[in-house]
């Protein structure tokens, strides 16, 4: 009886998990399917009709390509800055004692400010200060958005750096800088890579803030949104599909080695 109950509850748990995963992944997968459909109307293609012609047509869409270049550049700069700043914020967090929680919440707060409000607020402030909307203003907005996530990722990875490692390094003659370079940095390198990729993807896909802050050259999500409203050409599905595939590839690059390492042996 116990066993039957076990199987039943396990079945229920798996069913719920599967349903959850379907709800999460079906829409982007549907979009991916649509992008291979030769028809002008969105819909899933028949297996025989699969085509990559919309992907090939992408190179001709100068507006989309320019937006993509702009987005990639913004994401790159945002990711570099967010990773560096988050690293400093996380190191500060490690040094603080009583005010640790206050610092944690301060860095995290921008994550909970709705994008519409933050975008609007920033654009108002920039306008007031006489700063023209440009790539830099978008980067500013995206930094606020990506920083808390990068901070959490790096903070998590810092937990492997035990106080005793740093004490032992000091004991053996290492000053603060050497302790950081020889002990902390190698131990949190995977965290830094994850934080970078996280920040990059968050920036690449961000719409609301970019909508308010972009200058003459819009970012890709903003352009895609505009095209949707103007009556979609199937190329935007191809663009979405391409971004989705690249994102999945990035995540696989981050998570893959970690998964493999776990399988290789019970390393600590």
């Amino acid at each position: 009886m116990m066993q039957a109950e076990g199987t039943l509850s396990r079945l229920a748990i798996w069913t719920i998990t599967a349903l959850g995963l379907i709800v999460i992944y079906a829409p982007p997968l549907y979009l991916l399917g649509v992008s291979f459909n030769p028809a002008l109307q969105p819909g899933l293609p028949h297996l025989a009709d699969l085509t990559v012609k919309w992907y090939l047509a992408l190179s001709g869409e100068t507006q989309l390509v320019a937006a993509l270049e702009q987005s990639l550049l913004i994401a790159l700069v945002t990711a570099i800055l967010a990773t560096l700043l988050a690293l400093f914020a996380a190191l500060a967090h490690m040094e603080l004692h009583q005010r640790r929680t206050a610092w944690f919440l301060t860095v995290l707060l921008p994550m909970f400010v709705p994008g519409v409000i933050q975008g609007l607020a920033l654009s108002a402030v920039f306008q007031r200060a006489g700063i023209k909307a440009s790539m830099l203003t978008v980067i500013g907005g995206h930094l606020l958005w990506a920083l808390p996530f990068a901070f959490i990722v790096i903070l998590t990875s810092l937990s492997v750096v035990k106080r005793s490692y740093l004490m032992a390094a000091a004991d053996l003659g290492a000053g603060r800088l050497r302790q950081f370079l020889d002990i902390t940095l190698p131990l949190i390198r995977p965290g830094l890579v994850s934080a970078f990729i996280f920040a990059f993807l968050l920036s690449l896909n961000e719409f609301t803030r970019a909508f308010y802050l972009a200058g003459r050259q819009n970012t890709l999500p903003v352009v895609l949104f505009g095209k949707m409203n103007a009556g979609a050409s199937p190329t935007i599905y191809a663009m979405s599909g391409a971004i989705f595939l690249v994102s999945v590839l990035c995540v696989a690059l981050v998570a893959g080695p970690a998964l493999l390492r776990r399988r290789a042996g019970p390393a600590e």
């Binding site: 035990k162 005793s164 490692y165 004490m167 390094a169 000091a170 053996l172 003659g173 000053g175 190698p186």
Partner: protein, 364 residues
């Protein structure tokens, strides 16, 4: 190369808590010194102050007379084997051991020769390329030891390095410490709460209690003349008896316990009113035949309360007329007295000591 340490009225307060309280101590160059004390008494805190990982809130620490205030851990001639070891998980055994020397600028063949000889010293020859995360507990301890020893420090601090090892490994490592102390000639400070380690290794040791050093002496002195009741208990002299008075007759001193005159040796400058009699279990002899004539003046007449078989011997619990108890062991092949019997107990010289009652719970 060995360095002497002067600790002068050092205090380390964490808010209202004084983890180290007005400690003064001089450790000689090349000495093997042990800090003994129960959990939370401030041993690690004192060690961190010496190593430079923490600064005293009062007092002064000097090495060979040179004040160490303001000199950080990485510039002190001290190396430490931490309680938590702190082996670098992203480095191999050899990289761990060689880390300190690399910082000093050593490279290539000279570096690997030093690493190899340090590993040989702790009997881990050939372990250099291994992953430190995959070593056994005892091997990890020895890597930590090699990592500190390879620096050829003037002072080596060992914070409970044997805790968590099994008994066999403990003994093996303990002997290794003694061997390495002789070989390196450095000043060793060992922190432990295990007295076996302390007794067998130390030139001198200190018993610490609530941030203070209760006694600083050679190991044997803790048994011959414990400074007070706390120290006596700590080293295993469990029988502490209250007395009704102290009688001095010429050279001899007797304490009056429930009508019995017990010859005692004065352990220290203790006020009679604030003293107790400590009985050393190894200096009590039980004569199971009550008919033996008490021609010996050093004998007590006590009543048997209970006996317990302990394998190699019997524990016989005896009581004075006022109910205070003493446990005496009796060889297993001896006849066992019955509860209620009156027996005489011989007291060898130095078996009873009059010591300060400091450190006894108030109820006792």
């Amino acid at each position: 190369m060995a360095i002497s340490i002067q600790i002068e009225t050092v205090t380390r307060a964490f808010g209202p808590v004084r983890a180290v309280d007005d400690v003064s101590l001089e450790i000689r160059a090349g000495e093997f010194f042990t800090l003994l004390g129960s959990s939370g008494c401030g041993k690690s805190t004192l060690l961190k102050l010496i190593g430079g990982f923490d600064a005293p809130t009062g007092g002064r620490i000097a090495f060979d007379g040179r004040d160490m205030a303001g000199i950080p851990a990485n510039r002190r001639p001290v190396n430490t084997v931490f309680q938590s070891l702190g082996l670098f998980p992203h480095m191999t055994v050899a990289e761990n051991v060689g880390y300190g020397l690399r910082l000093k600028g050593l490279r290539g063949a000279a570096l690997s020769a030093r690493i190899d000889s340090a590993l040989e010293m702790v009997e881990l020859g050939g372990f250099g390329p291994r992953d430190v995360n995959l070593l056994s507990g005892g091997q990890r301890q020895r890597v930590a030891l090699a990592r500190a020893l390879v620096m050829e420090p003037g002072i080596l601090l060992l914070d409970e390095p044997l805790t968590g090892l099994d008994e066999r490994l403990r003994q093996q490592m303990r002997d290794e410490f003694g061997r390495l102390h002789k070989r390196t000639g450095a000043t060793f400070i060992l922190v432990t709460h295990n007295q076996d380690e302390a007794l067998s290794l130390s030139d001198r040791m200190a018993v610490m209690h609530r941030g203070r050093l209760e006694q600083i002496d050679a190991p044997a002195r803790f048994f011959e003349a414990p400074a007070n009741a706390f120290v006596a208990r700590f080293v295993g002299i469990d029988t502490l008896l209250t007395h009704q008075g102290v009688i001095r007759e010429g050279d001899a001193t007797h304490a009056l316990i429930a009508g019995e005159k017990v010859p005692v040796r004065i352990g220290g400058p203790a006020e009679p009113a604030e003293s107790v009699v400590a009985l050393r279990p190894d200096r009590l002899l039980l004569h199971p035949h009550s008919e033996i004539e008490l021609k010996n003046a050093l004998a007590l007449r006590l009543k048997v309360v209970e006996t317990r078989y302990r394998g190699l011997h019997h524990d016989v619990t005896l009581a004075f007329a006022d109910g205070q108890r003493v446990v005496v062991s009796l060889e297993a092949d001896q006849p066992v007295p019955a509860p209620g019997d009156l027996v005489s107990v011989g007291l060898k010289p130095g078996g009873a000591m009059l010591i300060s009652n400091a450190g006894l719970p108030a109820a006792a």
